[in-house]
Symmetry: C2
Subunit: 416 residues, 2 copies
């Protein structure tokens, strides 16, 4: 089955906002095994939207629309879709009562405009909105489907996951099915390196294996379709296991929701370790990323941003002679930063970062993008040299991901 995405909103046409709904819906549809050949953006204009709907119904099986379900005059997605399908709008009692409760619970006054949101095309499937007032709507015309979703991502995403994805799976001509996916997340290996190790798996049909490159990471999504979740999990499990054995310690999680910084924080907690950071060119971004993790305060106590040589000496005790002889960007300085940071913070695990983020400051011997890091774990120290590419921002982002990877590796080396 083919699906087409239609995002409605003048703010998209003016470039005021980036169309993240389209990317999110496209990824979901791909995971559901639906082929998507077209995405369209159109403004809040009835005639143009009607034209797009008619074209879409000719060339695709399912149209998924987002936006234009609000209470104002401008919002006319529902009215237009009903007209194209030749349906009248009727008041939906359940939706009206849900909208009334929504306002009551929040102590807000409901306006007549909001009553409009309870109107639905006759015969449509009405989908509850747990996070807003506009219900989702599913229309049918000559065997084709039109799915209307609210525009705000905090309404659209939960509605799609809870109600629309199962509905789309139920349309499968081979009978209803479910989709189940797990992500094997790998750090410290490049995209091409990962791909060469999975060429045989990329041709699998069920489950499928798809790589997604992130800064310093590669995610392999394993997705299966089956008659029920248990059967789908059974298909996914051996492939996840196979990937884990191929990539070994480079796999930092097989849980969809766990980030690299979260994996590092879990590893620290598991081994009852405290951590600190000593940063020069990244200037606090590594500490900032660790602090993304709620509850990090159990293990992360302190961080040093030692941007100047003086700060490197004063805060973490790098020797004057080391800075003079080898320079601030050197393996020797990186090592003294990590060891000195551990002493100053009284921490078990410390990663240090010193490098040249550019655009200026590079030389033939020490080009822009050169970064040294050291990892201290309970007395052991590793020093690594990296040569990153790209803008100042990209180099710093890459360095932070590499530092988390190094931290993780160091802990695993010592604690297994």
């Amino acid at each position: 089955m083919t699906v087409e995405l239609i995002c409605v909103g003048t703010e998209l046409l003016l470039g005021n906002i980036v169309n993240t709904n389209a990317a999110w819906l496209a990824e979901q549809c791909a995971a559901l095994g639906l082929s998507c050949y077209y995405q369209t953006v159109v403004g809040d204009n009835a005639d143009r939207l009607a034209g797009i709907l008619e074209t879409g119904l000719e060339r695709s099986d399912i149209l998924i629309l987002s936006g234009g379900l609000g209470p104002t005059q401008d919002d006319l997605t529902k009215e237009t879709a009903a007209r194209v399908c030749g349906k009248q709008l009727v008041e939906d009692a359940r939706s009206l009562s849900r909208i009334e409760s929504y306002f009551q619970e929040r102590g807000l006054k409901m306006t007549d405009n909001n009553r409009k949101q309870a109107l639905v095309p006759e015969g449509a499937i009405v989908v509850d909105n747990d996070n807003g007032t506009a219900p989702g709507i599913i229309l049918e015309k000559d065997g084709k489907r039109i799915v209307l979703l609210p525009g705000p991502p905090n309404e659209l995403i939960p509605m799609f996951e809870k109600s629309i994805a199962p509905y789309l799976l139920s349309l499968d001509p081979n009978g209803p099915s479910v989709i189940y996916s797990r992500t094997v997340k790998i750090c410290g290996l490049g995209e091409s390196g990962v791909e060469t190790l999975i060429t045989d798996l990329e041709s699998l049909k069920n489950p499928t294996v798809a790589p997604y490159a992130k800064t310093g990471e590669v995610h392999l999504r394993v997705t299966a379709r089956a008659e029920d979740e248990k059967a789908a999990k059974k298909l996914v499990k051996p492939v996840v296991k196979e990937l884990e054995s191929r990539f070994g310690r480079a796999v930092y999680t097989t849980k969809n929701e766990v980030t690299l910084e979260e994996a590092v924080v879990r590893l620290l907690k598991k081994n009852d370790l405290t951590a600190a950071t000593v940063e020069s060119c990244t200037g606090g971004l590594l500490a900032g990323r660790l602090v993304n993790v709620p509850g990090v305060s159990d293990v992360f106590k302190t961080g040093f941003v030692t941007y100047s040589n003086k700060a490197k000496r004063k805060q973490v005790g790098v020797k004057k002679e080391t800075l003079e002889k080898y320079g601030a960007v050197s393996p020797q300085t990186a090592e003294e930063m990590a060891v000195g940071g551990a002493k100053a913070a009284g921490a078990d695990v410390v990663v240090s970062i010193t490098g040249i983020a550019g655009p200026d400051g590079g030389s033939e011997e020490k080009p822009v993008g050169l970064v040294y890091m050291a990892c201290f774990v309970c007395g052991s120290v590793w020093v690594e040299r990296f040569q990153f590419k790209g803008s100042r921002a990209k180099i710093r982002e890459s360095a932070v991901a590499a530092a988390l990877t190094l931290m993780r590796r160091g802990i695993l080396e010592v604690f297994g």
Copy 2:
């Protein structure tokens, strides 16, 4: 004139990447006074792309395409556009020599595939690509225009600004014109507060005034169209001046390219001041943002990430009694963090941040989102209380923007 955006790429249809090109191009077209009613995404498929081009030529005056100009077999935007316009591809000598130089300069070997990038539809306008190998192309068919741009933003953006925007302006039936815009950037005032002060200016036609809300900032873009740049600048200047007088010190720059952190760093440099940061809930993000600015090392020397109470005491000398009596999230602790940080770092200007980023750790008295900051400037200290909303990430991002605003205000209070 109407314009339509067509982005070509299977990675967009799969949701692997977000369509930032569409948003950027849409914003540029709006600023050029072109009306855009449709945006389409289509994959690297000749028949479907040809269909989209034919539909576009029927309903719009100008089609702007991005993507699919690469050297591989998959890339067929140029071939398809030529076919739709009934043109043959011929080798463009200038493009070929530019591609050859591109590889020579980088010491890379040119492949036969890259030679394909020098093929252009006969009679087309060929646009130099200063940042890659695929030239831009402008085709004409029955008075309508098709503009082909490379997909990578670092090639597309400079090409559009340098060559395509002037070309589009030259098509104006009222004679050639130029567009000139300046952005008045405001910090420390909310969007609605800013809007109420400019309602009269928002109805202006030439120049136009359009607000864009950012985290902790509002940008007002003033855009004029005139027969030449001098005349356009003359239209923009008094409105910028009017906005500066209405918003006073809240305006941190009227230069399009200057960021808030850059404005702060400039102010530090101008007054020959050094700065340091003391962060708890933001965990290094404020330092990280200052370090975005190349050359920040002249003024920013050191930062403290004092996440635990112990780190607050040890690194910047917050008193044990203060933490016990008022807690870590209190005006008293914020003040001691800033004053102690100034002493520890030997810095002239210090901002401290301590708050509850959530999702846990809030109470009725100190809810999630409560953040205290202090700003120390050469002996003077200001303490501020903020109540931010949203996710952990949003609260921390808002706090960083507010800290930069506070830092700027503190310096201005003391140094004028």
